[in-house]
Subunit: 467 residues, 2 copies
């Protein structure tokens, strides 16, 4: 009896939080109506402008009805039959899209050609963002040639299977993921795509059911359409999380979800269930507590540096994987020289059109003695042993350990900063990713990070704080 | 023509060195005569004292004629037929040996009961050392029950196959190995036994031939009797060096030879061939150069400590493997705590009847920052995560890397000496070998090592010197 009472209270608590969140993220009826009629308008106009065999098809979250309030991203596919050449698909599609935008009445207009696997037109119209994507019309995953093509099938699948109630549940999930920083499959986030959110709600009916399930996830795997066994899925897809695409059994919709993102989701699913609160959906952006930061820094006997550079002119989905690759190169190479990296934290600071990329590098072991044990060649490779003896000025009696000759030498880098300097200088040697090879990289000391990027250093320290 | 001339000179050089060394190590005719007649006397006397079915048999290097000048170690086996009980073999054998020693006319006499796998009597008679070993008489390796039994067969094998010339070659090899510090199969040395020396000369006829061969050894394997293939030998015996016992194809005579000892032999075989010199046989014991030592110490930014303890009352063959095991425990555990050990060097300093054991421990990385990255449990093991959060005072937002929760903690040992103190304090935890668990161990600082054990520190630094 008493137990039941408590469940009621907790239940009411979930309800209250969810209701309040939905109020903030669910588009109003007017907004939905406006978006839909705008979408209809685009479709109608483009249909009139284009030949009969061209189909205009809305895709994405507006078409599927799972968009968040204010998220005015319109995705329009201009679909060609297979009889068209690729170059015509691209040129005609973009030409028609441009003509349509030209005719459109609006206060502010801007267009740009963007690239996924193929070019498409992106237009900014009075606060709305519209992507016009020329593509071939397909009806089955076997016809898919680019990842973009598949969106047609995804939109159809979701529209066919999702109830009205579920759409709000998808919105809750999307906002929850945004709040905890893992919404989006792009290279920077390595989190959950919108489509994955929709599928997870299809699988669990509701946001709360999903969290309940996620709270005991380890390496979740889902297949709601093809009847693959778990063993089968795990053999097919090597990834922390698996959700087999209902429209293509050879694709893992959750392929982009990193181990860390998955762990974050599991952790906060638990936290929310224990203590439901709006803060998970809308984290409070704390003001920087400089006093606390100063104290944290003074308590640390580590060394914190920042690698700073202008953001290279490549798309995020290419750049960020390279930045993360560079992080792991810092870890590995520091270790090679007997240092140990505490953590690397990368961020982008926008400043108008330009951005700076910063990589906070904190060293745990940052200072090493000069003398170093050098392992030479096996004693039975005479020539190498003689070279080693000469090079390292080895004297008799020599030092032997197992089959190797040893010597004492000077360490190349005694201070972590010397290593970092060498690291950004000899980029070929350290195997820098291509887009980070030619740029100008600066090393900043802690005091300059505090001055120039206090907000990011603060975030970094908040997560990695000394209790 | 010119080449031939040089070979002649080098040849003459070898000859000169070898001749000079032999002069110092080969027992004189008188010495040989004296030893042989003493051996004959022992055999005759014991034969008269014992029943007809008991056989008295000289074994070891005097019996085989391969002993070095002044090396008056007499090994006498008192052999019983299988009809005797083990306890009678031991008690009767030792009783007769004692009676014999009692009758012997000598200025100084001392006896003690020693133990191999069975007890035997060791007598010190006017500078001679005589071991009386009661054992069963055997004629084939299938009858061997203890390692000691096998000596009978070894002695017979060597006597049957070794020429007079070869005996001097064995002496050269033994002295060479003594000079470079790897003569003896015992646990402290892990080098070449006398029997292995004899077999190596049997295999190569001469000392120089052996060195020639050893100079291109890697992992040598020999079988001069059973016709085993190399593959077969390597499968049978896992050891850096293999020499199948001619009297027992299931035994590797070189089993005790460590990788390091083997490497030392290969190295100095090469050195000698390039530049023959008596110094390999009789290394000059250098006087300690305190100035040099002081300079070496001041150049090192390592930390050198000494573990010092009274030598426990166990035989060397049990003690030294334990000391070496402790060394590797120091290496491994220091690494566990992020230190790195440069090297450990163990020695015994005799002082009358008592001995001190010293273990020089030099740390390369000896000083570490206080803060430390702690890897917690996987995020999906909720209970452990909660314990981890509480224990490490983790605050939100938590720190996640892959599937684990992380925290910052305090390092247990920031200085290598703190680790060493803990190491000798918690011996159970660190798995100290049995005979080193209860003894009193002290930690000495460098300046005290210089005062108390300068000769060993000097040897240590000579080998591991900063050029």
């Amino acid at each position: 009896m008493i137990r039941y009472f408590w469940i009621m209270i907790i239940g009411r608590n979930y309800e209250k939080v969810i209701k309040s969140v939905l109020k903030k993220i669910k588009p109003s009826e007017e907004e939905v109506k406006e978006y839909n009629s705008f979408m209809d308008y685009i479709v109608k106009e483009l249909n009139e402008m284009t030949p009969k065999d061209i189909e205009i098809k809305p895709v994405g979250s507006i078409a599927k009805g799972t968009f968040l309030k204010g998220d005015a991203d319109f995705d329009i596919f201009i679909l060609f039959p297979k009889s068209y050449y690729v170059r015509d698909v691209e040129s005609l599609g973009i030409k028609w899209a441009k003509e349509f935008v030209k005719k459109l009445k609006a206060k502010r207009k801007k267009i740009e050609i963007a690239y996924a696997q193929h070019p498409y037109l992106r237009a900014f119209i009075d606060g709305k963002e519209i992507d016009f994507v020329p593509s071939y019309k397909i009806t089955d995953s076997s016809e898919v040639e680019t990842a973009v093509d598949r969106s047609q099938l995804h939109t159809e699948y979701i529209k066919a299977h999702m109830t009205e109630e579920m759409k709000d549940e998808v919105r809750l999930l999307k906002q929850f993921l945004k709040g905890i920083g893992i919404y989006g499959a792009e290279g920077k986030v390595m989190g959950f795509s919108g489509y994955l959110c929709e599928l997870l709600i299809l699988a669990h009916s509701s946001f709360l059911n999903l969290l309940e399930s996620a709270s005991s996830w380890k390496n979740p795997c889902y297949d709601i359409e093809h009847g693959l066994s778990e063993v089968n899925m795990r053999e097919k897809f090597k990834a922390p999380m698996i959700f087999v695409d209902p429209v293509d059994e050879n694709r893992n919709v959750a392929a982009a979800v990193s181990k860390t993102s998955l762990s974050i989701f599991i952790h906060y699913a638990n936290k929310f269930l224990k203590n439901p609160s709006e803060k998970f959906f809308f984290p409070i952006r704390e003001r920087i507590n400089f006093g606390w930061m100063k104290k944290q820094l003074s308590m640390r006997d580590s060394k914190i540096y920042l690698l700073e550079f202008d953001k290279p002119n490549v798309v995020d989905d290419i750049l960020w994987p390279q930045i993360y690759k560079l992080s792991s190169k810092i870890f590995d190479n520091a270790k090679r020289y007997d240092f140990s990296v505490f953590d690397v934290y990368s961020f982008e600071k926008k400043k108008g059109e330009k951005s700076k990329i910063g990589m906070i590098v904190e060293f745990e072991v940052h200072s090493l003695p000069k003398m170093r044990k050098i392992y030479g060649p096996p004693i039975y490779i005479m020539e190498d042993v003689e070279k080693f003896i000469e090079k390292n000025k080895v004297t008799e009696p020599i030092w032997i350990e197992n089959e190797r000759i040893l010597a004492i030498g000077k360490r190349k880098f005694c201070e972590a900063k010397e290593f970092l300097k060498d690291f950004i200088k000899n980029r070929e040697k350290y195997g820098f990713p291509p887009n980070l090879r030619k740029i100008n990289i600066k090393i900043l000391e802690t005091k300059d990070i505090v001055k120039k990027y206090p907000e990011y250093l603060y975030s970094y320290l908040k997560v990695r704080n000394i209790p």
